[in-house]
């Protein structure tokens, strides 16, 4: 990697960092990556118990239950090494070499920098351990097969780090990293084919069959079917308050995202907006067919 790209890479992954790195930065990474959302049940969240897993994730392929990622040695990640954690995020593979199902968004998380993964790991060690295992997945033999998950990965997944674009500003690159790696926005907002692989030609252009069976809007700059008519301030209001331009509020899945984006630095929110604005506008109407 050239010196410029390496320098940019450092800026991109540490932008928004508190100076000390480590656990404190790891807490920030947790927020930006939205781990609590999938790895915590609503009742646990109300009780202030975080990351103990067991949340039902409804997909077209069945219901998967998120694992306990607290440092419990038997029920969580207590027996893992840091290298195990890096492998899980970068390669979608468990310490025993089993393939994870792509409901765990390693297709996006693979792009997280090693430094951020290490800081996140450091933070996870400080989370209170919870001695509870998650329920088994409620899926068919096909969609519960680790072997077939491995085949899926061969077709639809490539371990990679996010390539820096030296022709774009550090702010744009930071936004790309927040959206495409940590924020994993595409996991909800990009339509998928029948087997759950991304339709990359419609990246971030929304889908009617999104998480939990809900739709996820087109967030490309198309003025009719996307967010082209939104101002930058509208987007920032969404990311801080969850309010959309007509005064209504997002709920559910996006509501949880907003809880996190509200905690990012204003610079990081700005970077995400800059990046989202730069995407190709894709016309893709989400919702009821217009008569």
């Amino acid at each position: 990697m050239s010196a410029l790209a390496a320098g940019l890479a450092l800026v991109i992954s540490t932008a928004g960092a508190r100076a000390s790195g480590g656990v404190e930065q790891g807490a920030y990474i947790l927020t930006a990556a939205g781990c609590v959302g999938c790895h915590t049940t609503p009742s646990d969240k109300k009780a202030g118990v975080l990351l103990a897993g067991g949340r039902a994730l409804k997909t077209p392929f069945g219901v998967y239950y998120s694992p306990n990622i607290t440092p419990d040695p038997e029920h969580g990640l207590g027996a893992w090494s840091e290298a195990d954690f890096l492998t899980a995020l970068r390669h979608g593979t468990s310490p025993r070499g089993e393939h994870y199902f792509p409901v765990f968004p390693y297709v996006s998380y693979t792009r997280i920098s090693e430094r951020d993964m290490r800081d996140l790991w450091a933070y996870l060690q400080t989370v209170p351990a919870v001695a509870r295992s998650e329920p088994p997945h409620e899926v068919s033999l096909i969609f519960g097969s680790r072997f077939l998950a491995g085949l899926w990965k061969l077709i639809y997944f490539k371990p990679e780090t996010l390539a820096i674009d030296p022709g774009k500003s550090p702010e744009w690159n930071r936004g790309a990293y927040l959206v495409e790696a940590l924020g994993h926005c595409g996991e909800c907002h990009t339509p998928r084919g029948m087997l759950g692989g991304f339709q990359t030609s419609k990246h971030l252009a929304g889908t009617n069959t999104g998480p939990d069976g809900d739709s996820a809007p087109n967030i490309t700059p198309d003025s009719d079917t996307g967010i082209g008519r939104w101002s930058d301030d509208d987007l920032d209001t969404l990311f801080t308050l969850g309010m959309i331009p007509d005064g209504d509020f997002v709920g559910d899945g996006m509501g949880e995202v907003v809880e996190n984006t509200a905690k990012l630095t204003p610079e990081d929110r700005r970077a995400m907006i800059v990046y989202l604005r730069s995407l190709p506008a894709i016309q893709n109407h989400i919702g009821k067919p217009k008569n």
Binding site: D233, M243, G247, D248, G287
Partner: protein, 151 residues
Amino acid sequence: MALRRISMAALAAVVAAMAATASAGEGDIKYRQKVMAAVGGHMGAMVTILKGQGGNKADIAGHAHAMAELAKISMHVFPKGSGPMDGKTRAKAEIWEKPDQFKAVTEAFVRESEMLAKVAKTGDMAAFGAQIGALGKNACGACHKPFREKE
């Protein structure tokens, strides 16, 4: 003379009957949409003030009071006959099929907006912003997710 009086009375009765039965459901839908637009308008106005982009801080209490009133009104804008079978509306049939669940979210709307009106009077902008978020999440989102069609 008496004949003309009776005819006028009969005419008035017929007109009144016509007005009452002519697309009552559609009228209710239209009214509801106006009420919801007012809710969105006040929300957007308050957030504009909150972000320091315009308007007058002194007017926040007025907007919050309007929200509390609109919340009470909104409990009555879902009469039978104003559902998806009765006209063009995003209101889902579940509103009338799950009355207990629906009642819970309309009550949440009243509760959260009354809290908003209370907080607005204190002048504490941070608390006000937080309560706007709570209102948006526990009322707007909590109702629209199960009970309103996507666009």
